[in-house]
């Protein structure tokens, strides 16, 4: 008889922290780099103490165990330190670099996509870039246009990069372990709104392979492919719709590159309906990509047009009512589902 592993309640933030600790314990070449991921460098009373432990405290408590030689506070110099992380990854380290907010990618994109993502290919497969870039995404805390975007679609478009979009603490922990052990460049998108969310995590749970979707709710009438925080907005919509007799299945792709096409297509084959829910801007988005996939390979399954629910094609606004309008809500998701029947 199988014994159930004991579970604990961890926040999404704690789950990420735990994955970093496990990875650093098992592999001495894993180092962390980022702006104030410890904080207080060079301050006498903070030699192996956090001032911050990251702007949201995600990396708190690690420096006491691993020291500042493996957890490097960087200056505010994204091209410099992200590029250094690429160079370190190509020469024998396994860095986990923190790009504080994904919106800052403009400061270092050359180092990510022209250097890190392409070097293996350009060098004929004779090099690799085992680098993880952790970065914060998502609207919902009134951080306005330059600290609230999602932008995972931009990176998913680019060959040589893997994109990971965990929606729960257990997924964040398991996917981060796989990302760090992976030999390719991984962008790991942490939704800032989820950091405080608690969830069950098995003690000693295995890493979750990249490229394997998870069905977050089984249902028979419509498939919602929901990304990152949109899983939770979709679960809320599913509850409402259940009362109306519409049974929703929610597929969480968990990684956008690679994408688990099979699980998505199998679900649509069963439900005959597809709505993709994505907080990123709509044009050339993960939503349009998944819609195109199903239009191409699953057209015959469909009983209704494919629908997408995205943020509007605008930057993220500041004012609370504007931002609430921007974020795809359970109501918008439910309305879109209703329009199919």
């Amino acid at each position: 008889m199988a014994t159930l592993a004991p579970t604990r309640q961890l926040t999404y933030s704690e789950a990420i922290n735990e994955a970093l600790r496990i990875a650093m314990r098992e592999d001495p070449t894993v180092i962390l780099m980022g702006e104030d991921i410890v904080g207080g460098a060079d301050i006498d009373h903070l030699i192996n103490e956090d001032a911050w432990g990251g702007p949201m405290g995600v990396t708190k408590g690690l420096v006491q165990e691993f020291g500042r030689n493996r957890i490097l506070d960087t200056p505010i110099t994204e091209a410099g330190f992200i590029g250094a992380a690429v160079g370190a990854a190509a020469t024998g380290l396994r860095p986990v670099a923190e790009l504080m907010f994904v919106d800052f990618f403009g400061c270092c994109m050359d180092q990510i996509f022209d250097q890190g993502a392409k070097l293996r290919y350009m060098f004929g497969g004779k090099a690799s870039c085992p680098l993880v870039i952790r970065t914060m995404i998502g609207a919902g805390v009134n951080a306005a246009a330059q600290h609230s975007g999602c932008h995972y679609s931009v990176f998913t478009h680019m060959p040589g990069i893997k994109t990971v979009v965990p929606s729960t603490p257990a997924d964040a922990r398991g996917l981060l372990l796989s990302s760090i052990r992976d030999d390719d460049l991984v962008m790991f998108f942490e939704n800032k709104v989820l950091y405080a969310m608690k969830g069950e995590v098995d003690d000693g749970a295995e890493a979750i392979p990249l490229g394997k979707a998870d069905i977050k709710r089984e249902g028979s009438d419509v498939t919602l492919v929901a990304i990152s925080r949109m899983v939770h907005q979709s679960l809320a919509a599913a509850k409402t719709l259940a009362n109306e007799g519409i049974d929703v299945e929610i597929v969480d792709p968990r990684t956008l590159s690679p994408l688990d096409e099979e699980t998505i297509l199998d679900s649509v084959a069963k439900t005959k309906h597809l709505v993709v829910v994505d907080e990123d801007n709509p044009r050339c988005s993960a939503a349009t990509d998944i819609a195109a996939l199903v239009a191409d390979k699953g057209f015959d399954y469909l009983d209704a047009p494919i629908k997408t629910v995205n943020a509007p094609h605008t930057p993220v606004p500041f004012s609370p009512p504007l931002e609430q309008f921007y974020i795809p809500s359970p109501e918008r998701i439910a309305d879109t589902v209703r329009s199919l029947f």
Binding site: A79, G80, I82, G87, A90, T91, D110, R120, M122, F123
Partner: protein
């Protein structure tokens, strides 16, 4: 900033070291002359940027390096590759886009690389290699390999943000890295006098409180000595340096450049100071080697290169579907 003033008579290079250096330099010159000719004959697709004239820099620096040391390079990277020991027949095949190229034809002239030799790639992005060199140096420091990283870049790259970010990062972390600016007087078709706010790029080291040294980049001995000091400093754990080598490219920015921005007079002035001839004259004048010995090296290098081109011409193209390989390790 300091300007090195060397005395060739006290150069530490003995005969065998000097001949090895000469051979590397002539390998580069011969390689570049052939690359230019074969590009004109449409045997080399794409863009080609030739290093001829700048040989003293790559060779004078890399003579201090081993396979455990890393270099980053530029779009003008053939010379750095050869100086770092990358296989020349593999380079020739790579220029042609053949399957036998060092990068299996996936990189070409502008991305030629061999990580096993510590050569982290020519680079199509001006200033792209500077942060990468910091990373290679961080690996050496973290793992205690004793290795150093050398970052080659041009005068044009010194105006990119990555130059300043990399120097600052290397300075605060005391990384074992040497930044080598090959100031050949032109960023593409724009002269240094126009594009740069300082008369010597080495002055910019002052902003990061690291050594900044100007050397005559046409003088192998000057480069060799200054590089020895900077690399030893990095190996000791004393941190980075910036070395500015004033040099000159004998060809244009790229093959096909009409070079309307330089006078014939200027080019011939520099050609009269050919860095390879300077090494040869130095050795001959001191009786370190004979004309016959130099001729033997020249012939050997030319024969090897001719064979490499012949082999590359008959080598197979990559299979078209090979385009789909080598994006990821696993996917």
């Amino acid at each position: 900033m300091t300007v090195t003033d060397h005395d060739p008579s006290v150069s530490a290079l003995d005969k065998s070291a000097l001949l090895a250096i000469y051979e590397r330099m002539i390998q580069i010159r011969t390689f570049e002359d052939a690359a230019g000719k074969n590009f004109a004959d449409a045997l080399v697709p794409g863009f080609v940027h030739l290093y001829a004239g700048e040989e003293a820099v790559a060779v004078g620096i890399c003579a201090h390096l081993t396979d455990r040391d890393y270099i980053t390079s530029t779009h003008r990277g053939h010379g750095h590759c050869i100086a770092k020991g990358v296989d020349i027949p593999g380079m020739v095949a790579e220029l042609m886009g053949k399957s036998t190229g060092v990068c299996k034809g996936k990189g070409g002239s502008m991305h030629i690389a061999d990580v096993d030799k510590g050569m982290l790639g020519a680079n199509g992005i001006v200033g792209g290699g500077l942060p990468l060199a910091c990373g290679a140096a961080l690996t050496a420091k973290t793992l205690g390999t004793g290795g150093v990283a050398v970052c080659f870049f041009g005068d044009g790259a010194s105006n990119q943000g990555t130059f300043h970010e990399a120097l600052n990062l290397a300075a605060i972390w005391k990384l074992p890295v040497v930044f080598v600016c090959e100031n050949n007087g032109y960023a593409e078709a724009t002269p240094f006098s126009y594009h740069c706010a300082t008369s010597d790029i080495a002055n910019r080291a002052g902003g990061y409180e690291i050594p900044g040294v100007v050397v005559d980049g046409l003088d192998l001995f000057a480069v060799y000595e200054a590089a020895g000091e900077a690399i030893a400093r990095a190996r000791r754990g004393d941190g980075p340096s910036l070395l500015e080598a004033k040099t000159y490219r004998f060809y244009g920015h790229f093959q096909g450049d009409t070079i309307t921005y330089r006078t014939e007079d200027e080019v011939s002035r520099y050609r009269q100071r050919d860095p390879i001839q300077q090494v040869k004259s130095h050795a001959l004048a001191r009786g370190l080697a004979s004309e016959e010995e130099f001729a033997a090296i020249d012939n050997r290098v030319q024969e090897t290169l001719d064979q490499a081109w012949a082999d590359a011409k008959s080598a197979p193209w990559p299979e078209p579907e090979d385009a789909l390989q080598d994006v990821y390790v696993t996917y």
